[in-house]
């Protein structure tokens, strides 16, 4: 059983009477502990694919397996639960709550998990913030933080529920090259040290090359599952044969 598997996923949007097919039969497997970059031009369907993998959207047809569960037929509430427990999101524009301290921003997802006391939630948020190197910025509001620090708060927020899978949508899009490297290094470290599977959407080849595997998507289909000229390639091959089967 693969960690994550997409089987022949189609997504069609209906705008009035016109059908707009965005994903045209995507099949893909990602093993636990992989770091994958999802590349493609705008309009190629990479965001739609990420939304489906991130349980924000449902495929029109096809199957989506995550950790042995088929998720494509879940209700909205069930998907919210999956997002809360098993997925983390990092966005291009950070999406932090304004005028809210870093600690509260990070603890926010925990308010939707009812089994944690307030004190435990704050403690957990603190731990994660320490891990991303912001132990001295707990009470700072987003406006008092630099872009890199804001993105680190966002990463901490994504990690607070200890999800096995992390999605990053253009995580360095709003950052300068120096901080971008920092953030990417942090992803790499999370991937290698904590075994968190990371799927990163980007259009920047430079950024994509930090991943060990790059998936190109073009016009709704995966064109290749290129693997990195990296030493550890063994685990990546799994995705290859299904990558461009359409």
């Amino acid at each position: 059983m693969e960690f994550m598997e997409l089987r022949n996923v189609y997504k069609t949007y209906y705008i009035g009477d016109i059908d707009v097919p965005v994903l045209k039969g995507v099949s893909l497997t990602v093993a636990r502990g992989e770091m994958v970059a999802l590349m493609g031009a705008s309009g190629s369907g990479k965001s739609t694919l990420m939304n489906i993998m991130g349980c924000l959207d449902r495929p029109t047809s096809g199957e989506y397996w995550l950790e042995g569960r088929e998720l494509s037929r879940l209700t909205a509430d069930q998907r919210a639960m999956v997002r809360n427990r098993e997925l983390g999101f990092v966005f291009q524009n950070f999406n932090l709550l304004p005028r809210t301290s870093a600690l509260e921003n990070v603890a926010m997802p925990l308010t939707y998990t009812s089994d944690l006391s307030d004190r435990a939630a704050r403690q957990r948020a603190k731990e994660v913030l320490v891990r991303v190197g912001l132990e001295d910025r707990l009470d700072h509001e987003p406006s008092q933080l630099s872009g890199g620090q804001q993105q680190r708060v966002a990463i901490a927020r994504a990690l607070v529920n200890h999800p096995p899978l992390l999605f990053a949508d253009e995580p360095t899009g709003n950052l300068d090259s120096h901080t971008s490297v920092d953030i990417l290094r942090m992803f790499k470290q999370l991937n290698e040290a904590d075994g968190i599977t990371i799927i990163m959407v980007t259009h920047d080849a430079e950024v994509a090359h930090h991943a060990r595997r790059i998936i190109h998507i073009h016009d709704g289909v995966i064109v290749n599952g290129e693997q990195m000229h990296n030493a550890e390639t063994g685990c990546v091959d799994a995705g290859l044969e299904s990558g461009d089967s359409v």
Partner: protein, 455 residues
């Protein structure tokens, strides 16, 4: 997601924009303040009306003798002489809904003190229970006693107006005044009651034992002393008038002057002009009336189908009229206040809609980290309710302050009304729920992908 967490989240969200929250809730503040002030002033004036009614005697029921008719000629209310002090005693004894009973005879005579004289508008011969029934206090001296009544002692209580007119405000206790040439010792002074609802001066009054008034002053034991009938016989000390009006033969042989002087009270029974009764509570008034009616039927041998020889009146109609007037005014003002609450609610809805649009990205983010639609719905709903409740609390304080100000500056009667406060809290929460629901529902229906992409 626990409720207190939702409330805290809502408070945090509101604190992010305190000025706007303040302005938004202003409508509710004004509405609730208006409701509270109206209710307090309304209940205050209601209570004032109740007080003025009870100054005429709380829950007082009046038993009057009925109408005498002879040869088809009616002599008007109070013209039969069948109501006796024994009736009063029986009512006290046998009617459980009755708290106190006082028989009363009325007189209208001139009072002389030194070189001054005065004719009080009311002069009652009664028992000490009268004071209890009319809820009257003695401010100087003591009331007369049951013993005074039994002995027909020449003592009396006088009202404030008499103190002013006869004594120039000096203490009259222990002084002697003359009622139709009979010397009475003033034993006490009644407290001030002011004018009654009809504009009559209630302090222009003399109270004395009914036996004294009946046998020594009006001096006509069998005659109806109602109205000024007594003045006709003022020249003699004691006279037996005709028992039946209309020139019918006298029941007893006419006595000579000497005989009459020898036997001052040659009567079998004495009638009274009215019996004042007070019920145990205002709700027991109808029961008291029923019990008295039954009792008096029995005592007066009124058979089925015969007309009563007495009438019973109570003041509920008058008090109902007055309190319904004030209630109407209060309700009208409440309606106006409610309209301002609705306007405030629309303001809340407006701002919540703006807030939902403005925070679309936040909603998308919350959904992407696992908030369900109902979590979002609840968050915005609670925000609206918290906003309204805070507005309600401020409104309660403002309204209460306003009514206190009215009391201080205009000297209007004001009464704190816990019902109004409870209603204000419930109504403001209700306004929050009602007008917060649509924006919250709109927020919860957002698509997380769209919401996250919203600029």
């Amino acid at each position: 997601m626990k409720v207190y967490r939702t409330i805290r989240t809502a408070l945090k969200a509101l604190r992010r924009n305190p000025m706007r929250a303040l302005l938004t809730t202003l409508g509710i503040v004004i509405g609730v303040a208006a409701v509270i002030a109206m209710m307090e002033i309304g209940t205050g004036s209601s209570a004032a009306v109740q007080k003025s009614i009870s100054s005429m005697g709380a829950n007082v029921v009046l038993v009057m003798p009925g109408t005498a008719t002879s040869s088809g000629i009616s002599f008007g209310s109070g013209s039969v002489t069948t109501l006796t002090p024994d009736d009063a005693a029986a009512i006290q004894r046998e009617c459980p809904a009755v708290k106190a009973v006082a028989p009363a005879v009325r007189a209208r005579v001139q009072i002389v003190y030194g070189n001054r004289n005065w004719v009080p508008s009311s002069m009652y011969g009664t028992t000490p229970a009268f004071l209890e029934i009319r809820d009257w206090t003695i401010v100087d001296g003591d009331p007369f006693t049951e013993r005074d009544v039994l002995n027909a002692n020449k003592v009396c209580l006088i009202g404030q107006t008499l103190v002013r007119e006869l004594f120039d405000g000096a203490s009259p206790v222990g002084k002697e005044i003359r009622l139709k040439n009979v010397a009475f010792r003033v034993v006490g002074v009644l407290g001030r009651k002011g004018a009654n609802m009809m504009g009559m001066d209630q302090d222009d009054i003399v109270l004395a034992p009914w036996t004294t008034i009946k046998y020594r002053v009006t001096g006509s034991s069998l005659q109806n002393t109602n109205q000024s009938a007594a003045s006709a016989t003022s020249s003699t000390v004691n006279t037996l008038s005709n028992l039946y009006p209309g020139g019918q033969p006298s029941l007893y042989p006419q006595q000579s002057e000497a005989q009459m002087a020898d036997t001052p009270m040659p009567v079998r029974f004495a009638n009274v002009d009215q019996v004042l009764v007070t019920a145990r509570s205002s709700v027991e008034i109808p029961a008291a009336i029923d019990q008295m009616t039954a009792l008096l039927h029995e005592r007066h041998h009124v058979r089925e189908g015969e007309s009563d020889d007495f009438t019973i009146r109570d003041m509920t109609e008058m008090s109902n009229t007055l309190s319904s007037t004030t209630r109407l005014m209060t309700n009208l003002l409440l309606c106006v206040a409610m309209i301002s609450l609705v306007v405030g609610g629309v303001g809340i809805m407006n701002i919540m809609l703006v807030s939902v649009t403005e925070r679309t990205r936040e909603i998308g983010l919350r959904m992407s980290v696992g908030a369900r639609a109902r979590d979002i719905l609840r968050q915005f709903l609670v925000e609206a309710v918290v906003l309204c409740l805070v507005g309600g609390a401020v409104g309660i304080l403002l309204g209460h302050g306003g009514s206190l100000l009215v009391r201080m500056l205009l000297r209007w009667p004001v009464q704190t009304s816990p019902t109004a406060i409870a209603a204000a809290v419930i109504v403001s929460a209700g306004v929050g729920l009602l007008f917060g629901w649509w924006p919250a529902y709109k927020a919860s229906r957002l698509d997380p992908i769209e919401a996250l992409r919203y600029e």
